[in-house]
Amino acid sequence: METFLEEVNRKINGVPLQNCYHCRKCTAGCPAASYMEFNPNKVIKMIQNGQRDRVLNSSTIWVCLSCETCITRCPNKVDIARMMDVLRQMAIESGIGAREKNILKFHEAFLAGIKRGGRINEPMMMVQYKLKSGDFFSDALLGIDMFAKGKLALLSPRTKDMQSIKDIFEKTKHS
């Protein structure tokens, strides 16, 4: 039976998390650490301790901005940014879902936009996000200003070969 640590390492497919010597450089440089439930170093410790449910249920993995400062500065080249991606994907695939629901809903609306047109049409994507999240009013004034300045085109060119896009989504679907 694979441990949680082994599973995460296999999915990262790079430097194993055991190489972390807990210097906390990742956490010192993380711009989102103060907004996280557990800081990046603590997440590594929790994985080493097999705390699967607490890690996958935490808001930390969703609050990570993917700025990659952690991997850039890690003296042991532990890919913490990739680890966060792996943990998010595990939370989705295991049915735990996202503690930060709107962040996942945004990602879903974004990907649905690609699936629909090959390229992102920002107004359509925002409408879809707002329908999913129920967050109708934030940024409404900003949206009007952007529209007035021609930054939001209701119709934008799509990818022509949509079959290739459909195939990509179909063949990479979470099992």
């Binding site: 609050v63 901005l65 993917s66 962040i103 690609i114």
Partner: protein, 282 residues
């Protein structure tokens, strides 16, 4: 020189000023752009945050399309650049993944073209001296801090950007145009762009911190090369702290006196025109 051009979704919408000024500057500097045929979205944060294979496949589809032109591909959007470099890195270093992704996309990936951002192309292929020589309107009085953000630079093994903790190419370009570039410690800090819509409160704090630091450095504007940083810094800081934000290509276009150079300033959310008028630059 001739390169293929991958604008990406942002440059056709919120980042249209970047697309317009990039095309104008490229034309003026003799860089011929050939748009990648039938490109699609790179997948951005949303793909890699939720589905690794999807993120690599969406970028690989575009890299394979770009390879048909057998030219280096210019990728102005820092996010698309980062995703393409990441896909390239994985496809070149993991044979099993490469085979799997080729199966998903339905074509072979050769890996024979360079993925380049325009800072690198203009700095290295055109050069600072040529930019100085082309300057007809010195950007006197403009005091930018240069802001590189995350996605052009990190991780360094993937992005291969020079001096990733203290990059200088944008700074040198702006100096060449006559701007009084201010030094600051936040060149490579994150603005929070990936959560701008879904976790806005955090992002406002992050942007406010950057604007405060820019002001403390004596800057009267910020120059960037990322449409996500641009959108975020243009829209999210608290009202008293905002500064004009420019794409570096808008300032190149302005200094070189290119036709239509002042047009792109009109669509910024935080209007930079009062500052430019005060400095008699428009």
């Amino acid at each position: 020189m001739k390169v293929s051009y991958y604008p990406g979704c942002s440059l056709h919408a919120t980042g249209k000023e970047y697309d317009q000024s990039m095309k104008a500057v490229s034309r003026a500097l003799g860089i011929e752009l050939k748009e990648v045929d039938d490109w699609s979205c790179c997948g951005a944060s949303s793909a890699h945050s939720t589905n690794f294979d999807l993120s690599i496949a969406l970028s690989a589809r575009n890299l394979i399309a770009a390879e048909k032109d057998a030219l280096d591909v210019m990728v102005p959007c820092a996010a698309c650049f980062n995703r393409f470099k990441t896909a390239e890195h994985h496809l070149k270093n993991d044979k099993n993944l490469k085979a799997k992704i080729e199966g998903v996309v339905g074509s072979k990936y050769q890996g024979g073209i360079a993925i380049r951002n325009p800072i690198d192309i203009i700095y290295k292929e055109i050069g600072i001296d040529a930019l100085s020589a082309r300057t007809v309107k010195t950007l006197a009085g403009l005091k930018p801090v240069s802001y590189y953000g995350c996605l052009l630079l990190r991780p360094p093994e993937v992005c291969e950007f020079e001096n990733y903790e203290n990059p200088f190419m944008l700074d040198k370009m702006m100096k060449a145009l006559g701007a009084d570039v201010k030094n600051w410690s936040y060149k490579t800090d994150c603005c929070g762009g990936s959560l701008a819509i879904s976790k806005t409160a955090i992002v406002v704090e992050m942007c406010d911190k950057l604007m405060t630091a820019a002001r403390e450095a004596g800057a009267n504007c910020v120059v960037t090369a990322c449409p996500l940083c641009m959108a975020n810094l243009d829209m999210r800081p608290s009202s008293g702290l905002k500064l004009p934000i420019f794409y570096f290509t808008e300032l190149l276009s302005l200094a070189m006196g290119l036709p239509g150079a002042s047009e792109t300033f009109k669509s910024h959310i935080f209007d930079p025109q009062p500052l430019l008028r005060e400095l008699k630059l428009i």
